[in-house]
């Protein structure tokens, strides 16, 4: 298994809410995606409700996503089998009687207007686990740019990336806050049963030119800055960068939302959003979008390169540094799969190749 550093196993829990698509991508045409190594087709019923079914006709191995939506149902583009929103086959073209038990899996779906999330694990558990929330992505007080990147890397490599951004200065010197040059200030990590968060408070430091310009600050301005990050759920990271300008409320903040969805052991869908609570105009969108798009493309390149190394030469015990405290905590959460999976909690196997 190509699971980077998570040791044996796929590196992600299946009993979790994962982003399937943007809400506006799910409509009257079937959308085929893969989530947690499961083929999923999504569409909207005539009434506007998002539906997610297994993307494989029960009669022949043909994806339903290559068929069409008809009212509340989806019709196979090859067999003509028709399925309702609950996955039950309601008609077949060749006989009056619907074959007994003909159905495909229907997955629990949560649509918050930004993302359609899907649960491909035990459906009974879905109602007992709260889907992660990202209300700022729909809040008029925030402006957001973002995109989707399909990444040929295991999801654990993405988690490790968002748990420690000290590499930014190396990967993309243009975008990096100058505060990241040199030894970082103390790292504070806070754990709960299901989450890991971290923060660092930086002494007054200059800003990258593009950052100062977006904030309307002089290029040589120096302000205290604060970095936070949170593994909210297996499919969601929320990181922030605050510039603490005296007298300015709310604190000018970039909020980075990473909806990450394991496609399979070697692929991950990454929906990135960069939101800000200052300079909400479209011109700033147009300035910032390409800067962050370039950064996340570079990150994807690094992640895919690391995955290729692991695929070729296998995982290896790695040297960790104190700055990895959050990374290690996240690895532990992922290795310790929650109840409802695999029959037992496994001990951490990180870096034990």
């Amino acid at each position: 298994m190509a699971t980077a550093n998570a040791g044996p196993g796929r590196g992600y829990p299946v009993n979790a809410w994962y982003v399937l698509a943007r809400s506006d991508e799910v409509g009257g045409r079937p959308l085929g995606r893969r989530v947690a190594d499961t083929p999923v087709v999504a569409y909207r019923t005539a009434g506007g409700t998002a539906v997610a079914l297994e993307d494989r006709c029960a009669h022949r191995p043909y994806p339903l996503s290559l068929g069409r939506v008809a009212g509340d149902t989806i019709v196979s583009g090859y067999t003509g089998f028709v399925y309702g929103p609950d996955g039950v086959c309601v008609s077949v073209p060749t006989q009056d009687r619907v074959p007994h038990g003909a159905r495909v899996r229907a997955f629990p779906v949560h649509d918050d207007g930004t993302f359609v999330r899907v649960w491909t694990g035990d459906p009974a558990l879905a109602a007992r686990r709260v889907p992660p929330r990202t209300p700022w992505l729909r809040d008029a007080g925030w402006a957001t740019v973002g995109d989707r990147l399909d990444t040929a890397a295991n999801v654990v490599l993405l988690h490790e990336n968002f748990a420690d951004i000290t590499h930014v200065a190396v990967v993309d010197p243009f975008i990096a806050p100058p505060a990241l040059h040199g030894p970082p200030p103390p790292l504070e990590v806070a754990l709960s049963e299901t989450s890991v968060s971290f923060s660092r408070q930086y002494a007054p430091a200059p800003l990258a030119d593009w950052h100062a310009a977006a904030l309307g600050l002089p290029a040589d301005a120096r302000h205290p800055q604060r970095e936070t990050g949170a593994f909210v759920a297996p499919g969601l990271w929320v990181n922030t960068w605050e510039v603490q300008v005296a007298g300015v409320e709310p604190v000018p903040t970039f909020r980075f939302t990473h909806a990450i969805t394991p496609v399979d052991a070697g692929h991950t869908a990454h929906e990135w959003r960069v939101s800000r609570n200052f300079a909400l105009d479209a011109a700033t969108d147009a300035t910032l979008a390409p800067i962050f798009a370039e950064y996340y493309r570079r990150v994807r390149g690094v992640l895919e390169t690391m995955q290729a190394v692991v695929d070729r030469d296998g995982p290896r015990r790695e040297v960790a540094v104190a700055a990895d405290a959050a990374v290690l905590a996240v690895r532990r959460l992922l290795a310790q799969e929650p109840a409802g999976e695999n029959g037992t909690r496994r001990r951490r196997t990180a870096a034990r190749a």
């Binding site: 709260v130 790292l187 960790a320 700055a323 990895d324 405290a325």
Partner: protein, 334 residues
């Protein structure tokens, strides 16, 4: 003193702790003789951290005498409701005042919480036997709800001194004959031997309650497959030993064939490195996990921030940069 000073320095470099929050008491209501159900919420209405059945939180309490006490209470509400946490707390007559401080809480009061954490997770299984004694019902309530929701086959034996002392029995009534209530003053002690007479590979046993019940269930489950029994003891978390109490011990490196001495003022890592044995180390403060080493034998005094309680108890691995040994000899796979 070297060790203590080193620890103090490094603690400022990286701090790993649990999530803390000051929550507001929304409700305190009696639910049985001596038991209150307490509901906590974020004062601003923010969602609370997610948890799964079996989880507990710390409450940081203050006694009448002003003493700070930290007490653990299981979450016994609905994990899907992240607007509030529910705890069930028995007034302990002979305690140090932690439960009395909880019983004295009133709506509007603020309580500091830590966690949640979970040392008693519900593992997926087609069949469960739940056994609760008294206030030990609290972690089992969300487990029962989850087992029921997932379609597992389950039963609960819930014992108590008397019907009036048994909290949340009313909520369990909807499960019909899956639940057996055993008030001791009506039915005597429950027949645990009969309940556990038939070890089954498809069944997990979850038990929480007083020490006598746990010991009896533990004894009866020796015939069950390893890993079938899951217990939770309600006991205080072990305290960190005071700095300066470190003692010298013997260190055996099994693969290297070396026997060394770790003086009171040196770490295992330093002694191993000085002996010329190659070991990985990085943060040297018990944070990064790089120096994790397999333990062959010895009673390890874990002082790192890497291992959880289960892993510490398993005594299979240690962080040799900070952790020590309580017994006279420590044997490592080095």
């Amino acid at each position: 003193m070297t060790t203590a000073a080193g620890t103090a320095t490094t603690r400022t470099a990286t701090i790993v702790r649990e999530v803390e929050a000051d929550l507001v008491v929304r409700d305190v209501r009696p639910v049985a003789d001596g038991v209150v159900a307490v509901e906590l919420a974020d004062p601003a209405g923010a969602p609370l951290p997610a948890w799964t059945p079996g989880a507990h939180v710390d409450l940081v309490l203050r006694t009448d005498a002003g003493e700070e006490l930290v007490r653990q209470y299981s979450l016994c509400g609905d994990p899907a409701d992240d607007s509030r946490w529910r705890l069930g707390v028995l007034l302990a007559a002979d305690g140090r005042g932690g439960s009395a401080a909880v019983h004295a809480l009133r709506p509007g009061a603020t309580v500091r919480t830590r966690g949640p954490r979970n040392h008693f997770p519900l593992v997926a299984s087609p069949r469960y036997l739940f056994v609760a004694g008294g206030i030990g019902i609290t972690p089992l309530l969300p487990m029962v709800a989850e087992a029921d929701a997932t379609g597992a086959d389950w039963t609960l034996l819930y014992g108590g001194r008397s019907r009036a002392s048994m909290a949340f029995a009313d909520e369990l009534a909807r499960h019909g004959d899956r639940v057996t209530l055993a008030p001791q003053d009506e039915t005597g002690l429950p027949d645990l031997a009969a309940l556990l007479a038939d070890p089954r590979p498809d069944t997990l046993v979850y038990c929480c309650g007083p020490e006598g019940l746990l010991a009896a269930v533990e004894e009866l489950c020796t015939a069950w497959p390893p890993g079938a029994l899951h217990l939770e003891r309600f006991s205080a978390r072990p305290q960190e030993p005071a700095a300066g109490a470190d003692a010298e011990f013997e260190l055996v490196l099994q693969r290297s064939g070396l026997t060394l001495t770790v003086p009171a003022d040196r770490t295992v890592f330093e002694v191993v490195e000085d002996a010329g044995v190659s070991v990985l180390g990085s943060c040297l403060e018990g944070v990064c996990g790089t120096c994790e080493t397999e333990v062959v034998d010895g009673d390890v005094d874990h002082r790192d921030s890497v291992l959880n309680a289960d892993e510490r108890a398993a005594n299979e691995f240690m962080m040799i940069c900070v952790s020590r040994c309580r017994s006279g000899r420590l044997t490592l796979d080095l």
